[in-house]
């Protein structure tokens, strides 16, 4: 095994495990240098199986390279680097360690050539991400992480059962394109979709991610949902059901984000919205759509990371404020955070000259090429809606809106540097998409910058912006949340359990009451006959006793005599 064949994901996982045990200076060096080494090693991996390990009767392809794998692994490594830079001043070392394990296992999934390897890294990801949430060390984050873990363990079980059934069907553990047609493939699809935040289990994401620390949420936004996108591109390209699931997620994200008050929850809903675009693209299928989904995952990780870094900076510098009702007017004292937040917001809205424009439009183009009118109309409306819920709403309520009186400064240098780096990438990829297009899974000659496309996109977005300011009174934030599917397990489930528990408690009480009354009456009866005053306890004189015996014997003799 040469150095280039050493799994880059495992390298990052090992690095993460070492972090808590080294001196702070060494730790900072590892955090900044290791992701770059991993990035280098990702690009040393050629096409085909690079590392095979025998396991039971199977040959596991632990590292198998192709363009799609390298694309996702690349953006995961970039994210690990920028997230590490941003989190350098994070005091909880466990968070960084967990984040590196989490990122490394995401890279592991990207290079997994067989389903068993996918599953192993999948589960490590679930544990790593849970520990990232934990690292916030608040009661809320602990509870949210337990709900999060439960959902992901469920997803893991579905995936495992699916893999077992699929292997039993086909005899092969290879991870390649499938169609959902059998028990095994359906279960695998469900397991993948849970990590993507697909309905009905959408709520875990906005429930858990915002509870992590200022830097933890940045890591969380990148890996879980995007590995799900990756495995869906590889495993279920063109599966029609994904179109409907994706469209649901797109509008779900917009609607819930519009109602939300917590800035980081707005951005979490927006993750589901953006992943919805990717899932729709995967469902459309074909080279253009799959390229679009992959490219959008790449650009999304960067601009969403940037948006959450901006929100995290506000959280960090204001001592934990993240509700729109508490914020506003911060542009005056946090200019850099504000500008970077706006760049991220423009990129997520697919403004021309930003990264979102050159990736998302490929998905709409594919819908248009395949004459999917309904899907195309949905995607266009949703593009406008993204500007509404994330593009304007987030920066408006956090940085402008009203003067909250807060005057926090821009965050420390490392957080600023990470934001500038990602803001630069958002614009660079938007201005010069060539390098990204070159590493997409399929070669493409797509040209996003045509005059009509740019003008039409600006029309769509700016009129969406107009609608925001026209409806501003309706957008006024209130101290509320919106019920979601998680109500079923957080409230209805709790009630059911309480109801059942109460039923069981009452039944136990009734049984005990019946038993004890039976016991009591037995004791009472026995006491009556055998107690001190009972008939059995009476003392009798000898005379009457002899008389009774004589009478009994006489009777016996008479009966015997008559009977014979």
């Amino acid at each position: 095994m040469t150095i280039s064949a050493f799994p880059p994901g495992i390298l990052l996982v090992l690095g993460g495990l070492v972090l808590p045990f080294v001196a702070p200076k060494v730790r900072a060096t590892i955090v900044l240098v290791l992701p770059l080494i991993v990035l280098w090693s990702i690009w040393q991996i050629g096409d085909g199986v690079q590392l095979a390990v025998p396991f039971l009767d199977y040959e596991l392809a632990v590292v198998k390279g192709d363009a799609l794998s390298r694309l996702f692994a690349t953006v995961f490594a970039i994210m690990a680097f920028a997230g590490g830079l941003y989190a350098l001043n994070q005091k909880q070392v466990s968070e960084l360690a967990a984040a590196f394990v989490y990122a490394g296992s995401a890279i592991g999934v990207a290079f997994a050539g067989d389903l068993i390897t996918v599953f192993v890294f999948w589960e490590i990801m679930a544990l790593g991400s849970t520990m990232v949430i934990w690292a916030a060390r608040t009661p809320e984050s602990y509870k949210a992480s337990m709900r999060y873990l439960m959902i992901h363990l469920l997803g893991g079980i579905l995936l495992m059962v699916g893999i077992v059934a699929h292997v039993a069907d086909t005899g092969s553990v290879a991870f390649q394109a499938m169609t959902p047609h059998s028990f095994g493939t359906w279960l695998m699809l469900a397991g993948f979709l849970i990590n993507a935040g697909a309905p009905p289990l959408t709520a875990w994401l906005p429930d858990a991610y915002p509870e992590a620390s200022f830097s933890g949420t940045v890591f969380l936004s990148a890996f879980t949902t995007k590995t799900a996108v990756y495995v869906l591109i590889r495993g279920f390209p063109g599966a029609e059901i994904l179109i409907y699931i994706g469209v649901y997620m797109i509008f779900y994200g917009i609607i819930y984000a519009l109602l939300e008050n917590d800035a980081r929850r707005i951005l979490s809903y927006s993750i589901i919205n953006q992943v919805g675009f990717m899932i729709t693209g995967i469902g459309i299928g074909g080279e253009m759509a799959l390229n679009g989904a992959a490219a959008h995952a790449f650009t999304h990780i960067i601009y969403k990371g940037l948006l959450l870094m901006s929100a995290g900076s506000v959280l960090y510098m204001t001592g934990g404020k993240r509700k729109c009702t508490d914020l506003g007017g911060l542009f005056q004292s946090m200019p850099l955070t504000c500008v970077c937040g706006i760049i991220g917001a423009l990129a997520i809205s697919s403004f021309p000259l930003t990264s979102g424009f050159i990736s998302k439009s490929m998905i709409a183009q594919a819908a248009s090429d395949q004459q999917m009118f309904f899907v195309w109309m949905c995607l266009a409306a949703a593009s406008a809606g993204v500007f509404l819920h994330a593009g304007i709403k987030f920066p408006w309520f956090v940085f402008f809106q009203k003067d909250s009186g807060l005057r926090p400064k821009d965050p420390p240098w490392n957080m600023k540097a990470a934001m500038i780096f990602f803001a630069f990438l958002c614009i660079a990829l938007g201005v010069a998409p060539g390098p990204l297009y070159d590493i997409l899974p399929f070669s493409t000659s797509y040209e996003p910058y045509t005059v009509p496309h740019v003008v039409n996109q600006l029309q769509l977005l700016l009129f969406a912006g107009l609608s925001f300011f026209l409806a501003l009174p309706l957008m006024k934030r209130t101290l509320t949340i919106s019920l979601d599917w998680d109500w079923f397990y957080r409230r209805l489930g709790e009630w059911l359990v309480r109801f059942l528990v109460r039923g069981i408690v009452e039944m136990r009480r009734d049984i005990l009451a019946t038993l004890s009354s039976l016991l009591e009456s037995f004791i009472r009866t026995t006491f009556r006959s055998h107690g001190p005053d009972g008939i059995m306890a009476r003392t009798n004189a000898v005379g009457p006793s002899v008389a009774v015996i004589v009478i009994m014997l006489t009777l016996f003799m008479l009966v015997f005599y008559i009977g014979v």
Partner: protein, 83 residues
């Protein structure tokens, strides 16, 4: 020093008025741009005059109203899940 000068220039009423005017100017120019550009329309309707403008505006208003409608049923105090 009156209150006007203490306000950041971006939030002064005069600036806000100016921003609205510039904004409407840009929107008008964008709509008029439809006279000049010749998009390759895949479905017909997407090539009609002003399509992207009215579609962006109306779908967004529809989403806002729909979300307010859903809020009637789904809105709860943000302490709802706190024990």
């Amino acid at each position: 020093m009156n209150e006007q000068t203490e306000l950041n220039w971006l939030v002064r009423p005069t600036t806000i008025k100016l921003l609205w005017r510039v904004g409407f100017g840009v929107l008008a120019l964008l709509v008029l741009a439809d006279f000049i550009i010749h998009p390759h329309a895949a479905f017909g309707i997407d090539g009609s005059f002003g399509f992207y403008s009215w579609y962006g505006l109306l779908t967004c208003l529809a989403m806002i109203f729909f979300s307010k409608f859903l809020a009637l049923f789904l809105k709860r105090k943000d302490t709802y899940y706190d024990d």
